[in-house]
Amino acid sequence: MRFALSDDGLGFADAVRDALGSVAPPAHVRRWWDAAETSLVTPPFTGDGPWQALVDMGVVSACLPGDVGGAGLRFVEMVGVCEELGAAALPEPVVATAVVAAPLLADLAQIVDGVGEASPEVVEALEQALDDVVAGAAAVAVAPQDDTLVECADAGWLLVEADGGLHLVDGRSLPANALVPQRSVDGARRVARLDRAHLDLSAATQLCGTGEAATAWVAARRRAEVACAAQLVGLGRPMLALTVDYVNQRRQFGVPVGSFQAVKHQLADAALHLEFAVPPVRFAAAVLSGVEGTEDAEWGPLGEPQVAVSTAKAAASDAAEQVAAAALQCHGAIGYTVEHDLHLYMKRTWALARSHGDAATHRSIVATHLLR
């Protein structure tokens, strides 16, 4: 038994944190906010920006198998990285591409190869999409089945489920109105509504039937849920750290406000819930990666993948929101401004807490498993 990040996973997360510290400070997040003032188009990824830095570090392609140019990392080795990407409130769609879409592309490539019924055009597109991930030439988005938002409005490639088939669509030549950007409370987020009626889906874009890819599709959805949870616990850390700094230095009644118990207890509670949300998130990642031992009957219902995933997402959503609320309250009026960085993290938290299922929805999934 050893329940901690692996040395590789921890080393990778530390390296990502260090890199983001210089290439993705809050000022970088603010540039995305500023760009949204005029247009919701994703700002271009520049050579000195975080996207390229993470491509160079091998983060974007880390979960692809070695034979297509990736590092073959399992999701569990990337969960610490997802926490760090969350902690930086990184606007670039790295999580969506690296841990959700890229391994799904690789799974689909195998399925398509096995079934052997896909059109030459889409087989070629799939190869191109994989190459693009390795080169960092494009982000890839997975469009969920229902009317949920697509988290990556200007993805180079789009995986879409429609009418019993899985389709791969070139995001750079989408028909007008197919993907409609939506303004988010978080000015650094680029979400869009997908209108399937405006997509040109055909046999030429279909990779396989949904049934053939069902396992891979569900696995991708679950990775998205846990990766979102990991970003949420990551977001909690800078919010807590900013607040601890602030209440140590802000003085009222002649003393630092952090010396008042009313402030201490709020922050202690926030820290408590944040600390206890981390293990469920990392455990869920281990279950999804099939880490040896997770199949043991001793885990009980927690060993069922969806229960582990929903437990993680519910805990992370609630914890991050609690930290956000305590952080705002303990900052007082300064936190209620857009000049202070707190809102960058807080608004991302509000969005992610409900993205990929809010806490109550995930608890009801667990409830169904426990009480059915």
Binding site: M1, S6, N248, V255, Q261, F276, R282, A314, R372
Partner: protein, 400 residues
């Protein structure tokens, strides 16, 4: 070159064998009907018999060295034991204040003579230890202790005077461990000494009184010039605070409250929800709100289980939790109250029925458990104090 460490969620063969052995012994020996409460005179005797049975089969103190009746079990095996123990519905441990709180301190600070003298009798439930921290004027503010120990050079020891209170099971125990002021001039944390005291010594009076949950296990203990020898001092004279702190961190953290206890309670809560005494079939539709509360409680218990696995990994790899043990205490104590309250909500109007009422569900055990749980946020340092500790020592907020 150091080997690369991976995530591993598999119990090894030794641990699996340990679990099997433990499970099969418990299934053969756990009394089929719950014992009467260990915090009543009648129940205490029944619990002593159970403790002796555990000791004879070497299950009383699994993590201790073999020479004291243990199995040299690793922390991982200890977690497994606790999980199996509570899953089997085995009796509460009336010896716990000795084996979980005093013993770790004896291992750390005791002389070999003290260890040999006290540990085996403690393991065999021949000596029963209660904790003497609180005083009428020193609860959360433990450093406000006024009980004194005055040097008796001629007799080669100390004369104790003063009063301890809220002493759990004090009315049934044979010995007490606690802090006494040995340097009356010293301020607060200084000048305190850790003593072990036989309760049958001349000059010691124990008066039991009733507790919230109806049991009579609480006691106040009066010292009126009671004599103890130098061999009853644990650690150095006037350095009792740091010795005591070693014990209180055991109490807040892992050793007193293994997750097995709460995962077992949470599973019983889920069973209750599904049963006809709870919501019955289709629980989630019948009362989505209650189903949600049950789910929260279950998830929080799982979070504690996973947090503990991470904690033990840290301890094993040389990253001790320190003040973070206060996070543990906050979590398990509030989780326990939540489990209890949710069970009462499931039972509805029958929640108030207690042992002896025909209509009581499970002999009123849930109300009993709830009342016991309510002590959690109070003892071992109130949760208000724990929140201060988290804020000051984990987060780094200013003390004043």
């Amino acid at each position: 070159m150091r080997q690369t460490r991976r995530v591993e969620l598999r119990w090894n063969d030794t641990e699996r064998d340990f679990r099997d052995e433990c499970r099969s012994w418990l299934s053969d020996h756990v009394p089929s009907r719950p014992l009467p409460s260990g915090d009543t005179a009648e129940g205490f005797a029944a619990h002593l018999e159970w403790e002796q049975q555990l000791f004879e089969a070497r299950w009383a103190v699994v993590s201790w060295p073999e020479r004291y009746g243990g199995r040299d079990a690793s922390l991982w095996e200890w977690l497994i034991f606790e999980e199996e123990y509570y899953r089997a519905g085995a009796p509460q441990r009336v010896t716990q204040n000795g084996i979980f709180l005093l013993a770790p301190t004896l291992f750390e600070f005791g002389t070999p003579e003290q260890q040999n003298r006290f540990l085996p009798r403690m393991a065999a439930a021949e000596d029963l230890w209660c904790q003497g921290w609180s005083e009428p004027e020193a609860g959360s503010d433990l450093a406000g202790i006024r009980s004194r120990a005055v040097r008796d050079e001629e007799a080669g020891g100390w004369r104790l005077s003063g009063q301890k209170t809220w002493t759990t099971r004090g009315a049934f125990c044979t010995h007490l461990f606690g802090l006494f002021r040995t340097d009356p001039e010293a301020e607060r944390h200084k000048g305190l000494t850790y003593f072990m005291v036989p309760l049958d010594a001349e000059g010691v009076t124990v008066r039991g009184f009733g507790r919230l949950d109806g049991d009579e296990g609480f006691a106040e203990v009066f010292f009126d010039g009671a004599f103890v020898g130098d061999d009853m001092v644990l650690g150095e004279v006037d350095r009792g605070w740091s010795v005591a702190m070693a014990t209180t961190s055991s109490e807040r953290g892992l050793t007193l409250r293994a997750p097995g206890r709460f995962t077992a309670s949470a599973s019983r809560l889920v069973d209750l929800a599904r049963s006809r005494d709870g919501l019955g079939d289709g629980s989630t539709e019948r009362s989505p709100v209650l189903a949600d509360e049950v789910t929260r409680a279950w998830m929080d218990a799982q979070a504690y289980r996973l947090y503990t696995l991470a904690d033990v990994t840290d301890i094993v790899e040389g990253r001790p939790p320190g003040a973070r043990s206060s996070l543990n205490k906050l979590w398990w104590s509030e989780l326990d109250v939540h489990i209890g309250r949710t069970a009462l909500d499931l039972l509805g109007e029958r929640a108030e029925l207690v042992e002896g009422a025909e209509e009581a569900v499970a002999g009123g055990a849930w109300m009993k458990a709830y009342q016991f749980a309510l002590s959690g946020p109070i003892y071992a340092g109130t949760n208000e104090i724990q929140r201060n500790i988290v804020a000051e020592r984990v987060l780094g907020l200013p003390r004043r």
